[in-house]
């Protein structure tokens, strides 16, 4: 009986923590809304020069659309350079990018395979513009994205600005669910920006001051998540990273469970290994909200999610065992009662309903601040209902690999 009570208390504490984190982000977001006005798109006089690096490895089918979207940016042509780096592709990627070899804004580079960070550093060596950024070769930008992001650099304290990332043309149910998830991430990133606590500078279209990146020594391998490593390194040194949710970038999301699983294991593994490298920041108020709350709660979320998932799967297993026992005895499965008396209204379940409701609200806010739409994506109900069954598997796999230090494959 004592064991059951301990588990019950632990479950309630974890749910309280989850709810507290969501409420904290919402309160921060609202406070910032009250304090600031919306940033306008910069005028031509103010726009800095910028180099966008497109590192490619076997992206023959998507790289042309990526480059075309960059060349279609509404930005002074003389202030925008595109550097495409073929990182030792074994397919027809270089043939696909050769069409741009005579374009005045485009530079092509080719090297042996060394990872995304090495491709970025090669381009960094040749960059003389004020700003430098990266766009993954499977992503595309909206025409106004760069002008919006560039405006963020008017404050000399700002060293990086991150965009709002969306799923490009979702087709499968899984991609639609990810679309809802990305809208939630748009809100979270915006809220973290208001707290000065962004610690991931996403690969698709995060822009940096070139001099800052150079002074940091460029990008590192970062356990296959160089964007996370760069973000933590900048936070470690007190650099300010902002976000503009309306600077929209569209990226291809995995179509299958297998693809999604591989991607998310890599992300989670990278998070765990990088946070271990920067563990001096955890619970350290010197690093502001990031050290005091954001990093610790992100870590606990992994353990907490695994525990809650374990409890959920156990409850489902017990319910299925009950149904099978009844079937074995009576020969029929029975129908669930429609009597409202039997609706579960325990504190645990009401709190779960509330966490789901708040998450739904967050997805809606993310949609609104990035696209202006008041409706969430159509995959939102599925995302809320099913994601909690999928996430624990990649969290568990990443945790095991992080503990065993086995590493992860990019592709």
């Amino acid at each position: 009986m004592l064991n059951i009570e301990i588990f019950s208390v632990l479950t309630h504490v974890l749910l309280f923590g989850s709810l507290y984190f969501e409420v904290f982000l919402l309160v921060s977001f609202l406070e910032r809304l009250i304090r600031t006005k919306e940033i306008e798109i910069a005028t031509a006089v103010q726009l800095p020069s910028i180099t966008i690096v497109v590192p490619c490895f076997n992206e023959e089918h998507t790289v042309a659309r990526t480059v075309d979207s960059l060349l279609a940016l509404i930005y002074p042509k003389e202030n925008l350079r595109v550097v495409i780096v073929d990182d030792g592709s074994t397919d027809a990627t270089y043939a696909a990018i050769r069409q741009y070899s005579n374009h005045p804004q485009v530079t092509l580079l080719q090297k042996e395979n060394g990872g995304k960070h090495s491709a970025l550093n090669l381009a960094l060596k040749q960059t003389r513009t004020d700003l430098i950024g990266c766009l993954d070769a499977d992503s595309e930008v909206s025409p106004h994205a760069l002008a919006r992001i560039a405006h963020g650099f008017r404050d000399p304290r700002v060293t990086s600005v991150t965009p709002g990332i969306h799923v490009k043309d979702p087709v499968t149910l899984l991609q639609h669910m990810q679309k809802a998830e990305y809208r939630m991430s748009v809100f979270i990133r915006s809220a973290l920006a208001g707290l000065g606590s962004i610690f991931i500078t996403p690969g698709p279209f995060s822009i940096f001051r070139t001099e800052v990146v150079r002074s940091l020594g460029g990008w590192r391998h970062g356990h296959s998540t160089e964007d996370l490593e760069m973000g933590l390194r900048m936070q470690d040194l007190g650099y300010l990273i902002l976000n503009d949710p309306r600077a929209s970038v569209y990226t291809i999301a995995p179509r299958t469970i297998r693809g999604l699983f591989r991607q998310r294991v890599r992300w989670t593994y990278g998070f765990l290994r990088n946070v271990l490298d920067y563990r001096h920041m955890i619970f350290n108020p010197k690093y502001g909200n990031l050290g005091l709350l954001i990093l610790p709660i992100s870590l606990f979320t992994i353990g907490g999610a695994l525990y809650l998932a374990g409890r959920m799967f156990w409850s489902i297993a017990m319910a299925v065992a009950d149904v099978l026992a009844r079937f074995a005895v009576t020969g029929w499965l029975g129908f669930p009662s429609l009597d409202p008396f039997f609706i579960n209204t325990s504190v645990l379940w009401i709190t779960v309903y509330l966490v789901v409701a708040v998450t739904f609200g967050i997805v809606c806010i993310g949609s609104f601040i990035s696209t202006g739409s008041r409706l969430p994506p159509r995959g939102t109900p599925l995302f809320l209902a099913l994601y909690s069954f999928i996430v624990p598997f990649w969290l568990g796999a990443a945790l095991v690999r992080a503990i065993m230090r086995t590493g992860v494959r990019w592709k």
Binding site: Y20, V23, K286, S346
Partner: protein, 240 residues
């Protein structure tokens, strides 16, 4: 917007607004408190619903006993063997079983409800015996003794089997008792029927059967069940 305005509104990576932490905690605690309040409200409502049902059953039993006394010299046709009690008692059993499985319900309150329910069953059993004796009826009665204290592996299966039996033969009167319930009347019933602590136990025709009994096993123990099913079908056909 001037650069000076941006500098004053852009966040600092090192700053902490403690008020945000406190406000968020207060709001979260308020939400959690509301969840507790709502959960307790619905729990109390369920208990009140069960109590009300039990009160109604108690009044019905008293009414039937009084009716029986009033009609002592009259025809048995005026008294129905299958009173409304069977219809009311079974849904009550399902509700009690449900709240017994919910950790959020007060255990003392639950025990009280179970004790009252067991008393109502015993009252119904006694009244039914009086009616049967007076009117020369032969109702089929099963007393089922179970335990929820982990000492009865087959009790869950037995419960499903009895539910299936009742659905097949609605005329059968099945009375379920928690063997370990602290109730003097129940202890007396156990003593009278000489039920040992070997559960599940079924008492049929004054004979105790220990261990799991499937529907087919009970049909063999009670040969009269099949004829009851035929009678029910015939009655149904006549009503049509």
């Amino acid at each position: 917007m001037s650069a000076e305005h941006l500098r004053s509104t852009a966040p600092s990576p090192r700053s902490i607004r403690w008020s945000t932490y406190v406000i968020a905690f207060v709001i979260t605690a308020a939400i959690f408190g509301t969840a507790f309040y709502v959960s307790n409200y619905f729990s109390a409502k369920r208990v009140a619903e069960i109590r009300a049902t039990q009160e109604n059953i108690s009044i019905d039993i008293l009414s039937l006993e009084t009716q029986f006394d009033l009609l002592a010299e009259h025809s048995c046709e005026d008294i129905a063997e299958n009173s409304v009690l069977s219809r009311e008692l079974r849904p009550l059993a399902a509700r009690l079983s449900y709240i017994e499985g919910q950790a959020s319900f007060n255990r003392d309150e639950l025990i009280q409800l179970k004790r009252y329910y067991s008393l109502l069953q015993i009252k119904d059993l006694l009244l039914m015996k009086r009616v049967a004796e007076k009117c020369s009826l032969e109702p089929i009665v099963i007393l089922y003794f179970y335990s929820n204290e982990g000492d009865c592996e087959d009790c869950e299966r037995q419960g499903y089997a009895l539910t299936a039996l009742y659905e097949k033969y609605p005329q059968v009167r099945i009375y379920s008792f928690d063997y370990h319930l602290d109730l003097a009347a129940l202890d007396t019933l156990i003593s009278i029927n000489k039920v040992a602590r070997d559960l599940p136990a079924l008492v049929i025709d004054d004979e105790v059967h220990y261990g799991y009994q499937a529907v087919e096993d009970i049909e063999k123990i009670i040969p009269g069940l099949e004829s009851m099913r035929v009678e029910t079908a015939t009655t149904t056909a006549q009503e049509d």
